[in-house]
Amino acid sequence: MIELLLPARCTGCNACVTACPRDVFDPVPDGPPRIARQADCQTCFLCELYCQEDALYVHPYADHARPQDAGAIEASGLLGAYRRDSGWDEWAEDETLRNQHWRMEDVFRRARGA
């Protein structure tokens, strides 16, 4: 579930408001959006891909909220990991982060022992 929107990183671009398929955020004039409907979050992590400031943190547990400590998450290096591992935006030309999704069928084949 979405747990954090870090105001110190947020530019108020509202990309998350638009991109969230569950309409979880409300825009706020001249400020960071509000997590207005946390319980509607479907834990898809996609808002993180659309936040170029890495200001959002989604916890993997989906059933109920698990409040997170903003300072600890900042320090953890977990912010922005999805966007980076996906090779989005400024990571697009990084060879080590290239999309290797095409390997999936080969992995399945190896698991079957073929």
């Binding site: 969230c20 398929p21 309409d23 992590f45 993997p60 996906s86 999936m104 399945f108």
Partner: protein, 523 residues
């Protein structure tokens, strides 16, 4: 809501902007039509493909290869498949999918080849959005459709819904043809990307006069790290499972891959061991499926060293099979002016009695989207938009006709307790199904009338609750009607019998009916 609805006019209205809806929008807009997509969430992140990585059924046109692939699939389809439909989607996928390269950055494999059929979800759906917009389609995001509109002659005239963002009023789209692409129904389980897929299109279609098929083929559950949504299957192909005492669990061969896990989970925690995963695959995982790695890291689990608890998440008709019965080769819904694409349609013609997750479903979503769009264009050419002909609203359940006063959450829980229980669904018997039917009928009768304030969100939720309750009733009725086991429908109280290949049809709202029809049917 004091102001009246915002009116739009289009040649083709597409309800749902996931995989199928986007391909329909691209095809219709490229064909010169004025196209509107009404999407509940955000077209580009919504739908079950957006957080996944859909591989498509892909068979190049080399001599004999397609015939062979179809023959193999027909064998697993157990009498319900239709070779002509299979050939059509293989051909359409091969011709159309590579055109996404205009907006999707394919990365060559180790041999420098492009594998057109394997796309990562977030990038794919983003590309589909951009391609649809480039073709001129108008996207209404955060705009769930609540009901279809119908002309006096019974043909579909468009739809009406609400806007969740902005001014938040109602909208009406009048269109010459309407395509339902609302996806399957996951009953608001914690399936990755599945929360918007509540069966709305099934309810709208039935209210408009369509018939459902294959709803009994809906027992499908996927392994996730306990408490999470992460229903990505690849890494679990190396999994071994243990009970809480560390005893290994045996996977007996059977039609339901995960039935043994359902049984074990009914008795206590089940732990997953991925230590058999080869080293190179461990290293590649973040760039194959970044969200899989992400979930483990945030839970503090090293999945290749630690044994971690798993759960089963229900997928309902998503990686199940059933939906609106496709009435012809044009993806018509059997109602004039209405077409179906993707998971909202029954996929029996292309998957048969087993799941099409993993390749066939995505090829079907793409192809049925394109085919429905072409049929819609043809209809508009012949009949025009008819935007000024009077049209009536067709929606009932959860909009006007609720009688009960019960709390919505309690109803949803009651429905989920039946339809999302792996044990009840994997091991169906006459007795368990009859109990489920009675409980679901009670839930239907208790659908809330005016619970909560009439915000766009609250009205959508009420309609979703009606849709998922109706869908659970259709699945259960279908399961009662098919008395022997077949594919995703396993009856623990009967032995598997060879029966003539029939499809189970179902429909109705207050009174549910079932019937059977020759497989393949009019399509």
């Amino acid at each position: 809501m004091t102001a009246g609805p915002t009116h739009h006019e289009a040649d083709v209205l597409i309800i749902g902007g996931g995989l199928a809806g986007c391909w329909a929008a691209i095809t219709a807009a490229q064909g010169g039509a004025r196209v509107i997509v009404a999407e509940k969430g955000h077209c580009g992140t919504s739908g079950v493909a957006a957080a996944g990585g859909p591989g498509h059924w892909w068979v190049p046109p080399d001599p004999g290869r397609r015939e062979e692939a179809i023959a193999r699939r027909m064998a697993t389809a157990q009498g319900l498949g239709d070779a002509a439909w299979m050939a059509r989607i293989i051909d359409r996928t091969c011709r159309t999918l590579p055109t996404i390269a205009s907006h999707y950055r394919y990365v060559p494999d180790d041999d420098g080849r492009i594998r057109h059929h394997a796309l990562r979800g977030p990038e794919y759906l983003r590309a589909l959005r951009q391609k649809a917009q480039a073709a001129g389609a108008i996207l209404l995001d955060h705009s769930p459709a609540l009901e279809l509109l119908r002309h006096a002659d019974g043909s579909i005239a468009g739809a009406r819904g609400v806007s969740r963002q902005g001014t938040g009023g109602d909208w009406v789209v009048r269109a010459g043809a309407t395509i339902l692409a609302t996806g399957g129904c996951g009953f608001r389980s914690h399936l990755l990307g599945g929360m918007n897929n509540t069966g709305d299109g099934l309810l709208m279609a039935v209210e408009a006069g369509a018939v459902l098929s294959g709803m009994e083929l809906s027992a499908f559950f996927t392994v996730v790290p306990a408490g999470t949504t992460m229903a990505r299957t690849m890494i679990y192909s190396f999994a071994r499972y243990h009970d809480a005492q560390g005893r290994p669990l045996d996977r007996p061969p059977g039609p339901h891959d995960n039935a043994f896990l359902a049984q074990a989970l009914a008795h206590g925690p089940v732990l997953c061991d991925l230590s058999a995963t080869p080293e190179d695959i461990r290293r590649q995982l973040p760039q194959i499926s970044p969200n899989v790695t992400l979930a483990f890291r945030r839970l503090g689990i090293d999945p290749f060293r630690d044994r971690f608890p798993i759960a089963l998440v229900g997928e309902g008709t998503i990686r199940g099979v059933g939906g609106v019965r496709v009435a012809g080769p044009d993806a018509g819904a059997g109602v004039e002016g209405l077409f179906v694409a993707g998971d909202v349609a029954s996929r029996e013609p292309v998957t048969g009695a087993i799941s099409g997750g993993g390749a066939v479903n995505a090829a079907w979503a793409l192809s049925s989207g394109c085919i429905a769009a072409e049929a819609a264009l043809e209809r508009v050419r012949r009949h025009g938009r008819r935007a000024d002909t009077p049209a009536e609203r067709t929606g009932r359940a959860g909009l006007h006709s609720g009688r009960g006063t019960e709390d919505a959450t309690a109803i949803e829980r009651a429905v989920q307790a039946e339809i999302l229980s792996p044990v009840k669904q994997y091991f169906r018997t006459e007795a368990t199904l009859a109990t489920a039917r009675d409980r679901l009928d009670a839930a239907w009768a208790a659908l809330p009338h005016t619970a909560g304030p009439p915000t766009p969100q609250a009205r959508t939720r009420r309609r979703e609750l009606a849709a998922l309750t109706a869908t659970a009733r259709w699945c259960t009725a279908g399961a009662l009607a098919r008395r022997t086991s077949l594919g995703l429908h396993q009856r623990a109280d009967t032995i598997a019998a060879t029966t003539p290949p029939t499809s189970i049809l179902t429909g109705g709202l207050d009174r549910i009916w079932t019937d059977s029809a020759p497989a393949g049917g009019p399509a």
